[in-house]
């Protein structure tokens, strides 16, 4: 699939101006790890060209607070060269697959001194113009919760509760209003003839004109009783028509 894409893009390269060619390197943004564990720092790139045989990967490391970075890994000419003098000697291993554009490394037995920024730079000749990408490593005693998880959870919970309360409030109002109407309609149905009663139940809820005056008084009385309870709540709702 990728090769078909690469083929199509190379065909299009005749039309596309040359400045759009650039290699794009992807690493993570930040990695968290526990002391003593291993971590795999991934690095891959996107390039419009075929993966050449002279593809190179290089990793460099800048400790937290330092200004200079040192080179710790280099892959060139088909062979990886790991750090054998610096802070990662005997702790670095190449686990990438250059043919698949993967230049990942494995760091073993992490320590607090490994906190810092790791930069991956890949070159795919003739596509060599590109920006290196950095990933920050943080070593903890125990892995903390991701930034923003608790924040989002608290905000979501409170807002969800608010929405729930509003929905329940309107639901209760709707149900109580319906029960008030059903109560008055069933009273009318019981007093009147059976057929008339069933006919009344099918009428629209706002159709009070068909009721007799006494039943209309009963309906407004129950609605009024309902309204006084609502005033105690502190909300004044307009009377039902």
């Amino acid at each position: 699939m990728l090769t078909i894409l690469a083929l199509a893009s190379i065909v299009l390269l005749g039309i596309v101006p040359q400045q759009s060619e650039a290699i794009v390197i992807y690493t993570g943004w930040e990695r968290h790890a526990l002391v003593g564990s291993d971590i795999r720092l991934s690095c891959s790139f996107f390039s419009w060209r075929w993966t050449s045989e002279d593809v190179t990967f290089s990793w460099s490391y800048r400790p937290d607070g330092a200004r200079d970075s040192i080179s710790i890994f280099h892959y060139t000419g088909g062979a990886p060269y790991v750090d054998n003098k610096g802070p990662f000697r005997d702790r670095l291993e190449f686990v990438g697959n250059p043919a698949r554009r993967d230049g990942s490394i494995l760091l073993k037995n992490l320590d607090y001194g490994d906190n810092g920024t790791f930069t991956c730079d890949a070159k795919n000749p003739p596509d060599i113009v590109g920006r290196a990408s950095s990933v920050r490593l943080l070593v903890f005693e125990k892995v903390p919760i991701q930034a923003g998880v608790i924040t989002g959870a608290i905000i979501g919970a409170v807002l969800g509760l608010l929405v729930l309360i509003v929905v329940i409030y309107y639901l209760m109002r709707f149900l109580v209003a319906r029960r008030v109407f059903n109560l008055s309609v069933s009273k009318h149905g019981r007093k009147g003839k059976g057929k008339e009663g069933s006919q009344q139940r099918q009428a629209s809820p706002l159709d009070v004109g068909s009721l007799t005056t006494t039943q209309r008084q009963q309906l407004t009385a129950t609605a009024h009783k309902h309204r006084t309870t609502q005033v105690i709540d502190g909300h004044l709702t307009p009377p039902p028509p």
């Binding site: 930034a147 409170v158 807002l159």
Partner: protein, 157 residues
């Protein structure tokens, strides 16, 4: 009547602006070379100024959430106030607006209290608590008073 209305709205908006500024400005703790707030720790070292995301502790995230919630509730209170202004019956009270505003003030208070309690751990001895932190404490009574006024206020004309 109009003056009273304008005054109340001004108070509410003032509390809201204070909440906003306090949440977003990076000045909760200030030191000689670094300042930090709920979101970033910024420091000036060797002439360059760079910021890192704040420590991912549980409590700082709780403070973040509470400050954001207080802003949201205050905005909702403002919207509900304008709704109730036009739909409330004469003699009615702005209970809903007052409730939201009081909740906003409670959230600010909780956030500021948590930050104060955790300040021995978050504020190094060489640093002091900054003005954004003080703004949060000022916003709390302002929002509380605003909410209480809404609860007491009755709609006229």
């Amino acid at each position: 009547m109009l003056i009273l209305l304008l005054g109340i709205v001004f108070l509410h908006v003032a509390a809201l602006v204070l909440l906003f500024v306090s949440t977003t400005v990076s000045a909760w703790t200030t030191g000689a070379a670094r300042s930090s707030d709920l979101w970033h720790n910024c420091s000036t070292t060797n002439g360059e100024f760079h910021c890192e995301p704040a420590s991912t502790g549980e409590w700082i995230q709780a403070v973040q959430a509470l400050m954001i919630l207080s802003i949201i509730f205050s905005v909702i209170a403002l919207i509900v106030f304008f709704c109730q202004l036009f739909t409330l019956q004469k003699g009615g009270r702005f209970f809903l607006t007052g409730t939201f505003q009081i909740f906003a003030s409670l959230f600010v208070m909780s956030g500021a209290v948590i930050y104060t309690v955790m300040s021995p751990k978050w504020v190094a001895p060489t640093e002091t608590l900054g003005w954004a932190y003080i703004l949060a404490w000022v916003a709390f009574p302002l929002a509380l008073i605003s909410g209480l006024i809404y609860v007491i206020l009755r709609k006229r004309e």
